[in-house]
């Protein structure tokens, strides 16, 4: 099919539930044969973080940020009903019960469906996140990369 439609999602939020919504829409759009890109910026970058502990060279402030932010999709908090960590445990139980796909699996599926996962380099610098801390096989870019995709996007979302 020539001229595929495009879906572009900006994932700004670092909340598990919001990221899940973003990734469900992205996977759905890919099933519609759209060219799909998810731009991860600010807290949304944490969805791309590897869950292992890595110690790249960092300034004091960057180390503090690194410690305070969740390492990877599975460790992200909920936007509501966090309850000191009980909320995410409960929601993951409910996800399993309803045969819904948990966030880390949605991210794997996005890769299988050739969805472009893009990390915003400017906010990576601000939060002190290094490339080796993020998933492999992702792309890097800035606002121009988003505009280039977004200007002829059929669907553009900010989550």
């Amino acid at each position: 099919m020539a001229d595929k439609k495009k879906t572009n999602i900006i994932l700004f939020s670092g909340d598990y539930d919001k990221a899940m919504a973003a990734y469900i829409i992205a996977n759905g759009a890919a099933a519609y044969d759209h060219d799909v890109t998810i731009f991860h910026t600010f807290w949304g970058l944490n969805a791309l973080r590897k869950d292992e502990k890595l110690q790249p060279k960092k300034s004091f402030m960057e180390k503090m940020f690194g410690k305070m932010m969740p390492r990877g999709a599975n460790n992200m908090p909920l936007s509501k009903m966090q309850f000191l960590g009980m909320g995410p445990k409960m929601i993951k139980g409910v996800i399993q019960k309803h045969n819904t796909v948990p966030l880390p699996d949605l991210i794997d599926m996005a890769k299988e469906q050739d969805i472009t996962l893009l990390a915003c380099t400017m906010t990576m610098d601000l939060l002190g996140l290094k490339k080796e801390e993020l998933l492999d096989d992702i792309e890097y870019g800035g606002v121009a990369a988003y505009i280039a995709e977004g200007e002829d996007g059929a669907i553009n979302l900010f989550i």
Binding site: I24, N27, G28, A30, A31, Y32, D33, H98, N99, T100, V101, M109, Q113
Partner: protein
């Protein structure tokens, strides 16, 4: 109706029925029929809309006690 391929999408939730249907339809030829069986209540409108937008024809659909069966002809 001649069914060329059948997909069991029972018990799985959004977005899986549509994602799996897309994968399955890639494995058949144009004009062939794909049968999809799903239990997700949203799949009725999801798959109807998906067929319309992706150029496939929803030949028939029936619902029996919460189980939806779709017959999709590849476009």
């Amino acid at each position: 109706m001649n069914i060329d391929k059948s997909l069991d999408a029972k018990g799985i939730a959004c977005p899986m029925p549509v994602v799996k249907t897309k994968k399955a339809i890639e494995e058949i030829e144009s004009g062939q029929i794909l049968e999809v069986v799903a239990t997700d209540a949203g799949s009725k409108s999801d798959l109807t809309a998906w067929c319309k937008s992706s150029g496939h024809e929803l030949v028939d659909m029936n619902e029996d006690d919460g189980v939806f069966t779709f017959y999709i002809k590849k476009g």
